[in-house]
Amino acid sequence: MHVFQLFINGHSPNSIEAVDTLLKICEEKLNGNYKLEIIDIQKDPDKAEEAGIIAIPTLIRMMPTPVNRIIGALNVRSRVLAGLGISSMHV
């Protein structure tokens, strides 16, 4: 089970790109076995405060541990997969 939090800022281009890429990866690689919470800092700034977010977009992989973070528009798919610990061979 993968659990993600993705912090975005409204409809900024980087935010849209990050959401698209991540949804695609989840669909193709994780077979429905994931939880994704998308947090818009404009609507929910308290969550950004709590998590100490400074950059947008920020993706936090809560599970599996260890927790790690990827910042940026996630536009290099292979590096996102590596960062999330999802093998590109994963079916």
Partner: protein, 487 residues
């Protein structure tokens, strides 16, 4: 045009900055590691809350909030309570334990939103961002992005209208302003903190490099970190020579010496006694202290060489009773090792004592011992600041300085202080006919006639005795006395 300033509450900084930090603007505070940048920022916020009831936001990019709280506790700032009262808000932008990688373009809008929210929530009038260099280290591959984003942060700050400080690292004490070139977009107001190691002595200074459109003192001013008052600057450049010169004379405690200097020291003058070891300097000090009786003045004695007991015993040997003076409240003796703190700290401690005790006279035995606590430059600055302080308060000072040679000679200490003294008294050994004799002479006395002869000086059970002048001998000051035939 002169832009408005916000009084910081650190009196010494407000003094050198002619009123504080530029109001509603951002000031870059740059310094090497350990130069007290964080403290400078925290003090700005703490003073704002304590003195002006102005709330503040502290953003940390580097240290963890708990560490900051802990480090600042020693200054008696009740940050915990201020946080509860909503007067102090931390924004945590410090690096997280988790591994972070960057994939693709990003911005710092989350940070800007959080900053803005914090400022609005407590209606902050003061903001500190500490330190901006570490965000470059957090995202070390994206310095271009960070630079672009920091310009946005600077714009946000100026829109919010709070008076803010952004701190930044420097790698060298005298070189580029900051490590990552932040000064390129935070150019208007720059303050530099330095912490220089020179001859095994640390010397902290602060320099206001520029306040665009506003006056301030130029050049470096030494500062110290005081356990109660945090950063205290000793404002060298802001001192002026507008002292009141008094015509009133006060006794040196030795009537014959008063005669030599035409009636005593001027009130508020700075006087130096120079001499080799055992030449009678402490004796002159003891008499000067005792001279406080005459007009019931108060005297502060700062002893850097001897203990209180030693001083009392020696004085008693010359018929001078320090204990009685102390009982009458006319004398306060402070004995410390010069090495226990820096000169700047000594200066601040002395100021505190002067404020409480309000002395009319100050005796220091000896300046040479005190000079060990600092570099040459630091000592010179101390002397200038200290004498200016004394003159400002119309306190008469008598200082001693050791000469390294038994006969003749001068010392570095004197080289530093003699130009700003009002009078100099020389105590010199004279080797004559297989005997060590002592001599006394007045080298200079500003604004007054004085005896120009070199006189015999002896130390007896009744104290100092000044005799006739050495007639027919020359070369005493150079240490090679010779008998000359009188025609």
């Amino acid at each position: 045009m002169n832009l408005k300033k916000l009084e910081t509450g650190n009196a010494s900084f407000d003094h050198i900055s002619h009123g504080g930090l530029p109001l509603g603007r951002t000031t870059l505070v740059a310094g090497s590691s350990g130069s007290a940048k964080t403290l400078f920022g925290a003090q700005f916020l703490a003073m704002g809350i304590e003195l002006f009831d102005q709330a503040g936001v502290f953003v940390t990019f580097e240290e963890q909030i708990d560490d900051i709280r802990k480090n600042l506790k020693s200054f008696n700032w009740d940050i915990d309570t201020w946080e509860k009262e909503g007067k102090w808000i931390f924004v945590d932008a410090a690096p997280k334990e988790e591994n972070v990688v960057a994939v693709g373009d990003f911005d710092l809008s989350a940070f800007r939103v959080r900053l803005e929210r914090a400022v609005q929530r407590c209606k902050a009038q003061r903001v500190v961002i500490d330190s901006i260099g570490s965000i470059f280290t957090q995202f070390h591959e994206e310095t271009h992005t960070i630079r672009r984003e920091l310009i946005q942060v600077a714009l946000t700050l100026s829109r919010l209208g709070a008076t803010s400080i952004i701190t930044a690292e420097r790698l060298e004490e005298y070189g580029k302003i900051t490590r990552f070139g932040v000064e390129e977009f935070l150019t208007d107001n720059v303050v530099i903190l330095r912490n220089v190691l020179h001859n095994e002595k640390r010397r902290r200074t602060i320099e206001i490099l520029k306040f665009r459109g506003s006056n301030h003192e130029k050049g470096e001013n030494p500062f110290t970190i005081n356990p109660e008052k945090a950063i205290v600057i000793i404002p060298l450049s802001a001192m002026n020579l507008k002292h009141i010169s008094s015509n009133e004379r006060i006794t040196s405690g030795i009537p014959a010496l008063d005669d030599m200097i035409n009636g005593g020291f001027y009130k508020g003058s700075i006087n130096l006694v120079s001499g080799a070891i055992g030449a009678g300097k402490t004796l002159l000090i003891a008499n000067f202290v005792n001279g406080a009786w005459e007009k019931k003045e108060r005297c502060l004695l700062l002893a850097f060489e001897e203990s209180n007991e030693q001083l009392n015993r020696n004085a008693a040997g010359w018929g001078i009773d320090f204990n009685q003076l102390e009982e009458e409240g006319l004398l306060k003796v402070i004995c410390v090792y010069p090495e226990i703190s820096s000169l700047e700290d000594h200066f601040i401690n002395i100021q505190e004592v002067v404020k409480d005790f309000k002395p009319d006279r100050i005796a220091i035995d000896s300046l040479s011992a005190l000079s060990r606590a600092s570099s040459d430059k630091g000592f010179r600055e101390f002397i200038i600041a200290f004498t200016s302080y004394l003159k400002h308060h119309e306190i008469t000072g008598l200082f001693t300085s050791n000469t390294p040679l038994l006969a003749g000679g001068t010392s570095d200490t004197e080289g530093n202080i003699s130009p700003i003294t009002d009078s100099i008294i020389l105590l010199r050994y004279v080797e004559m006919n297989g005997e060590m004799q002592r001599s006394i002479a007045v080298l200079k006395m500003r604004g007054s006639r004085h005896d120009s002869s070199i006189r015999k000086f002896s130390i007896t059970d009744e104290g100092a005795k000044i005799g006739k002048h050495f007639a027919g001998i020359s070369g005493i000051l150079t240490g090679n006395p010779m008998l000359i035939k009188l025609e």
